[in-house]
Point group: D2
Chain length 338, copies 4
């Protein structure tokens, strides 16, 4: 039993981590931090944990001894204050924020608006998308868990870029359920405003853009340009990213399918399907990828649950790899379907 | 052309008033107040007013001279500071908040948690439900516009109480769209929380309870007891109140229908129907009433758009009566249907 | 490994059974029937089963030998044609339709509109609500799995009736997500019609009414009268039933809570909470019960996922009991929370 | 008072026409056809018409004499059977189906799968997008009312193509509310399937594609290529089309805005805004257009209510032009806003 801690145990990704880990057969949910709730039983705050966990929130992660791995589920800017100490203590870390996703400090300060204070660990961080970077994750001490949009777009585009069949210019029209925006109430997330609408935001300026470019560029000899337009959907969970690329030469739907099947055919969580469906994956760590050729273009769809494969489920998948466990353990649930 | 002002021009009921009044053929939308937006063109803030109104927000309603009637669309507690001065100046007032709905100051302080500072006008205020109190509204200087829940429940129950066929004990299971809760973001109105749920709140303590009792008691020789459970629906606009009463003796569906038809048969905005439908009335000042006898009980449904017949549309209906206009003018639009 | 079959493997409750059973550690999903899909791989039709099951749909349940238990997930009227043969062959049966819920054939024909053709097994059938009838379920060969509304209402009301603190007259204002109505498209379930509304239907005539009366009457010395109004919510999964009863004498919230805690305090799946939440239980076999005293009345809320605790999850819970397994096995997932 | 008829008075666009026309001050709603409802009062079927119209459904449009203009609101294939006779009788026609939108019969048979039987009138038909083809509509006897997707995409793209600042290759990622798919229940429109999802369909094969190409090509010296991906949103009303184009040279947001303002600055119904909003236009004939430059690309958004500016409202706007009326009459209502 590995001992696991979560920094930021009450936000949406922290809660989702608890939800997954509390039935994980090979780890012990040993620490959850929350400044506001320190001292309280976690199951009094997160009522779904009643019967699953008896621990109490602590103020700091260092209040708990003997942890093997820690998830950081805080807003960006916080992780880089916590990570150095954890890494130094020999604790493995998975950061769900954006702090360790971009490879250099200048990109970070450009997109996040403040300096990166831990360039040393930034260099060592591995981008936690198992389907593309599995081997590196296995040996990593620090994993930067991908963003939800980034996961959906990268899964849909990387195989085609890698196969060299599309031009390196991607339009990603990305739609996300509201839980992706976190638990703090705001005018955009106010139900009367967003409940019967679809709302573009951060058009061309979303921080997952450079993350996608960075991840996909690893499979391209040239740079990759991503034009990303996020749009808020009136659903709670789920992302559909529709990604448009120009084909270098005429191809059939079947030829494109083959590329995806080659990439993902043996993956336990990523599936190439004819009709991608949010409901088929909601509540699970599964993702759908699909594609259609339209004239000289291809549209590739990436579909997942933003809180599971787009955040906490993928983090647990990384954890399993880092700790030498079976990759799927604790993540076996199929999607809700309906 | 009567000159009309709105205190609180940017909240949901204030906006809805503007939306209705800007195409009203017999009034001029002459003043909108907003502390935050004073000086700005109203159509720059409420973009739907572009092409409909050229005025600017003012800080105080007294900044505009020559007003004939003023709507107060503010949170409760504010109206009673504004109303005395307006009434004294000979301006008619329709208050959309709860400040003038309850008839005595002790009920007010019990349910609203603070003292009423304008008992003089409280006495004169007329409850603005035209289908039940039309004549009084016509002569009123101050109308207390009913709450959205209260309108739906009262319309569904008053005719049966008045006809003496049911006992004076009403269970009102009331469901409202989220726009009824106003425009300030809060955890309960946060889409990920409420978007795929139905959430009971203020169970047994909602302030519309005494208002319904007060309105219905006018048709009863004894007091009326209302047990009200409000529940938040994941829709933007619309209320369905399901009201349960014990029949004093066995009755058929047809006999109950007759009572409603007698009451509302000639009403332009309230319709007795077999299948009540929120979509049939959304966007309009229409309301549906329906009923079913179940054993020795009757369930009566009241359905309306909380922002129109439940607030601003009804306020305009009252205005039409107070100013001696045709009751339906400016309110002719049918519901969206779909 | 017990061998399990499902008659009606493609409807919503049949699919949900597959979803739960495919990761159940102690049973083998051995047979799924579907006339339309006979011969096809189940994972080609139910794509979420890819990687979870290799079997193919069969036409009849008798096509598969050696089954230990069979779930019947068909519309009512079908089960009573299948059950006699299964029981005779010594196969245990859990029927998710309404065919074996009512105890006598006259009630059945009154509410379902046709004769019951298997009165013999009807007599032996046990009503599968484990929290109230656990011991009988353990020894049963045939379990009638409760309806979704019925489960939510019964869980909320039975303890109070049993404790003798309320009168035997229940008003159940019940609201359900759309998946409760099954997978066949119809005007009422058409998104433009129901997507931004709440729609009363089968008012006073819903077939879960006698089922609730029958279940609760077992805890009452007198009969029980239930007035049930079902209403369709614009959400996919989830039920909230608001149940109103008159208190026999004044009681506090705390006293009512004690009754519920006494009943459910040790239950793994039913939880008394202050604020009932559909999202907290969605995707899981958990249910919430809550209550508020309002004057001389109490409102008790029953909340669950209609496809899990309201159908297939509860059926698996019954299966675990019937097969002598740990009651919670295969049902450990907490609710989604968000 | 012009006398107006509607063929197909019970579908969504036919109902929406009734809803708009029943308060139109200068026309008389004189005929509604419905085979199924012939003889019934329209207000008994379309209950929102109660108090607005006393006429009865007829079987055929020729049952009513003296009509000045007829709307055809039927599935495609039907209009071309009705139109020849109407035109011959000197009655003006607005067809809301796809029958007269494409200019040549070969395009029609390619996209609609059957022959066009009225090539003569096809040649005369004017595409009814007033903001781009106003003058032609004024003189037309037969107007082909644009599709909902086509209107949103064309409004967003035509000005940029016309100004020559973008390449003639458009990616239109289009999202529509469910009412756009009509009133016939189907698996895709079944609430449990679509209510918490976004569903791509007719990817690259939607019939509005050639319509957009045809409309925009009129402003281009070369052909235009449109790659269209329709996606079903879980909202009832509203379309957001996100249209991506490559800029021919670097441009600023302000420069793009100027092009739109030049095109639409004086339009009563089309507005260039910074933040496009479905809720701001729902229930009204208004449309929003917006844009952002992202690197060497521009994304242009087209937003409208698919049943109003995307169908029946636009048809009434055309009618006003054809009959020499004020263009906005009967269409003055602002969007709901909330």
């Amino acid at each position: 039993m590995d001992k696991v801690g979560i920094i930021g145990g009450t936000g949406y990704t922290g809660s989702e981590l608890s939800r997954i880990l509390c039935t994980h057969p090979e780890v012990e949910l040993a620490a959850l931090t929350s400044r506001q709730n320190a001292g309280k039983k976690v199951s009094d705050v997160q009522t779904f944990l009643k019967g699953y966990s008896d621990i109490r929130f602590t103020e700091k992660i260092s209040d708990t001894k003997g942890l093997d791995i820690v998830f950081v589920a805080t807003p960006h800017g916080v992780a880089m204050e916590e990570v150095p100490q954890l890494i130094e203590s020999g604790i493995k870390v998975i950061d769900l924020s954006g702090d360790y996703r971009l490879h250099n400090t200048s990109d970070y300060s450009k997109w996040y608006g403040h300096e990166h204070t831990d360039p040393k660990n930034l260099k060592k961080a591995v981008y936690g998308l198992p389907e593309l970077f599995r081997d590196k994750i296995k040996g990593a001490d620090l994993v930067a868990n991908p963003g939800c949009y980034a996961t959906s777009i990268t899964l849909a585009c990387a195989p085609l870029i890698k196969a060299g069949v599309v031009e390196n210019d991607i339009i990603a029209d990305a739609k996300s359920g509201t839980s992706g925006a976190g638990m703090v109430p705001s005018p955009r997330l106010h139900h009367p405003f967003c409940g019967e609408s679809i709302i573009p935001y951060s058009v061309g300026t979303h921080r997952h853009t450079p993350e996608v470019e960075m991840a996909i560029e690893k499979f391209s000899k040239t740079g990759v340009n991503v034009t990303m337009v996020p749009q808020l959907l009136p659903i709670v969970r789920g992302i559909l990213s529709s990604c448009y690329m120009n084909l270098k030469k005429d191809m059939t739907d079947g030829e494109i399918e083959k590329i995806f099947v080659k990439q993902y055919g043996k993956e336990p969580f990523v599936h190439y399907v004819k009709e991608p469906s949010i409901r088929a994956v909601v509540g699970s760590n599964h993702a759908h990828v699909s594609s259609n050729v339209i004239g000289g273009k291809v549209v590739a769809f990436g579909v997942l649950d933003n809180l599971v494969k787009g955040a906490s489920g993928q983090a647990v998948q990384c954890m399993n790899l880092m700790l030498g466990k079976k990759e799927t353990i604790g993540l076996e649930a199929p999607g809700l379907g309906v």
